[in-house]
């Protein structure tokens, strides 16, 4: 194979696979979103009716969008702060134990979501959960965590933080190791405190990683499904938690498409979610770039 044709042969497997199992399904879903179809019977073209229904008749779409925004908006900043702090602490103060601590803090991220759902259900159980036992120890009353809208949200937010800060930590650790040590040494000689070095060197130089982490967190946050779904998965629990307070957009999509078999409406929901994500990404890029100009 010549030097000219080789790169095409190398990217061919990617594009073949993507077109067959990525692009085709996406375009097909777009077509389905203009129809009313249960996947088996006749497919009837309904135009924009599904989209009109999403935006004007389905109050649960707005509710699920709102829920997703709350869960995402509260948990992401905490995840990022915790991840950044652990990464810096590990690098500056825990050199010898870094490998072990790194694995411990990364452990939540590698645990299967199904396990996380069941474990948190039991840990936050009203009667026998370890969390209420801990509260009782200090004389506080037991809380019916999974029974009220806002406490259920708090549990999911806690789950998300617990699961994801380790991943953020890894990202920041990789970013930190690209900052040359000489910078810190020079600052130390000039008498800069740890805090000054952290705010004047670490944070500004980590900007590319911040951009990457923030944007991927938001994109992934909108896809939230596994954790809240599995927390309320067992028998007797309402879908989406009490008052559907943790029902996310993807849960709504899953319900419509694969429980009610409204393939057309489900596809329209997925496309609406995509529009929201695209808009959010654009706004975020603007904000990030705007900040860059100020510097």
């Amino acid at each position: 194979m010549t030097k000219k044709s080789a790169p095409y042969a190398m990217i061919l497997p990617y594009f073949l696979l993507y077109i067959a199992f990525g692009l085709f399904p996406i375009l097909f879903s777009l077509g389905v979103s203009f129809t009313s179809w249960d996947g088996i019977g006749e497919m009837t073209f309904v135009g924009l009716k599904n989209y009109v229904r999403v935006f004007t008749q389905d109050k649960y779409f707005y509710k699920s969008l709102w829920n997703t925004l709350i869960l995402l908006g509260i948990s992401t900043p905490i995840q990022i702060t915790l991840g950044l702090l652990t990464a810096t602490f590990l690098k500056d103060f825990f050199k010898k134990t870094q490998n072990g601590l790194q694995l411990i803090n990364f452990l939540p991220y590698i645990t299967t979501p199904v396990a996380v759902g069941i474990i948190f259900q039991l840990m936050f159980d009203w009667k026998s959960g370890v969390v209420n036992a801990f509260l009782n120890l200090f004389g506080a009353e037991s809380v019916y965590w999974l029974g009220h809208a806002w406490t259920a949200r708090a549990v999911v937010i806690f789950m998300l933080i617990w699961k994801n800060y380790g991943y953020k930590m890894i990202m920041f650790l990789s970013g930190l190791s690209t900052i040359p040590d000489e910078l810190y040494e020079a600052a130390k000689i000039d008498g800069a405190s740890w805090w000054a070095r952290f705010t004047k060197i670490t944070i500004p130089l980590l900007k590319p990683i911040f951009v990457f982490v923030i944007i991927t967190s938001v994109i992934n946050g909108f896809k939230l499904f596994d954790e809240p779904q599995l927390l309320f998965n067992s028998a007797g629990q309402p879908t989406g938690g009490p008052d559907r307070s943790v029902m996310t957009v993807v849960m709504k999509f899953y319900d419509s498409s694969f429980k009610n078999f409204e393939f057309g409406y489900g596809s329209a929901l997925a496309y609406c979610l995509f529009l929201v994500i695209a808009a959010a990404s654009l706004v975020l890029f603007r904000v990030v770039n705007g900040k860059k100009k100020e510097d």
Partner: protein, 274 residues
């Protein structure tokens, strides 16, 4: 002087201690709860190991758990190795060759990073039904094999860590283009390969939604789906389910214990230019 430095660090150690305990506690609870009698889990907090491990283990095994384990392994291995090769090849082409259409093609790949996988899920399910592949492991293996993140990361890594001279010298020695990739490039990019391998394997192993909507035949269940099947004599056996989950975490735990230091090294080199 030294002493004050040490005392000043106490809050820092406390912070790391509390965080590490929080990270470990649910994990520890998972292992502990798998050794108790299921109904006992609802009668009080269980902080220490119970005596019901063997019975729970039998309850897990009664449900063909080894079959689901094998399914998960087949899916994760095929998906990961395939995805790794595809990403590394494409990443290499984008990093080290000049060819027509390179820029728009790469921009297209990056743009697909923002597309949620759920967008095509309905279409994917129907596609698999038409080619008769629903209710096999095939859709789980190919879904996500063309991974934009993988290509993006591989390109960054290869661009910054593979010198052009190596490729040139390979050509002078009469290596073919693919020969250069497999014999000269693959060994150099090992840290990136390990990093991507770990992440792909993790994502595939823990994938819940794709098998959930794709597989209805129990023969092809993967571990995350099979958990709901575990029950003993007309009751839901939570302890056995939790034991199964602990067992399902073992391969990931082993991989990451060995690979966690490579993970950062691979990510670092990839992010230099990012």
């Amino acid at each position: 002087m030294k002493k004050t430095v040490w005392i000043g660090k106490i809050p820092l150690y406390l912070f790391m201690l509390v965080l590490s305990v929080c990270a470990l506690l649910p994990f520890y609870m998972m292992i502990v709860m798998g050794t108790h009698y299921s109904e006992d889990l609802y009668t009080g907090v269980k902080l220490f190991f119970g005596k019901y491990f063997v019975e729970n283990f039998h309850a897990v095994m009664r449900q063909n758990f080894l079959l689901y384990y094998a399914n998960s392994l087949i899916v994760a291995c095929c998906n990961t190795i395939g995805g790794l090769l595809v990403s590394a090849l494409a990443g290499y082409a984008f990093a080290k060759y000049d060819f027509r259409g390179k820029k728009p093609l790469f921009a297209m790949i990056v743009a697909t990073l923002a597309i949620p996988q759920q967008l095509g899920l309905v279409g994917f399910v129907m596609e698999m039904r038409w080619i008769g592949m629903n209710n096999t492991l095939f859709p789980l293996i190919v879904s996500g094999m063309a991974n934009a993140f993988g290509v993006f990361w591989m390109r960054q890594f290869i661009e910054s860590s593979v010198p052009d001279e190596i490729i040139e010298s390979g050509r002078v020695d009469g290596c073919r283009e693919f020969g250069i990739f497999f014999r000269l490039i693959m060994p150099i990019i090992r840290p990136a390969l390990i990093t991507i391998f770990l992440l792909f394997f993790l994502w595939s192993w823990n994938n819940y939604m794709t098998p959930l909507v794709m597989i209805s035949d129990q023969k092809y269940y993967t571990i995350p789906l099979s958990i709901a099947l575990i029950s003993s004599e007309y009751r839901t056996d939570y302890a056995a389910r939790i034991l199964a989950l602990s067992m399902g975490t073992i391969p990931i735990l082993i991989l990451f214990s060995f690979g966690s230091k490579y993970l950062i090294r691979g990510l670092v080199a990839g992010s230099v230019k990012g």
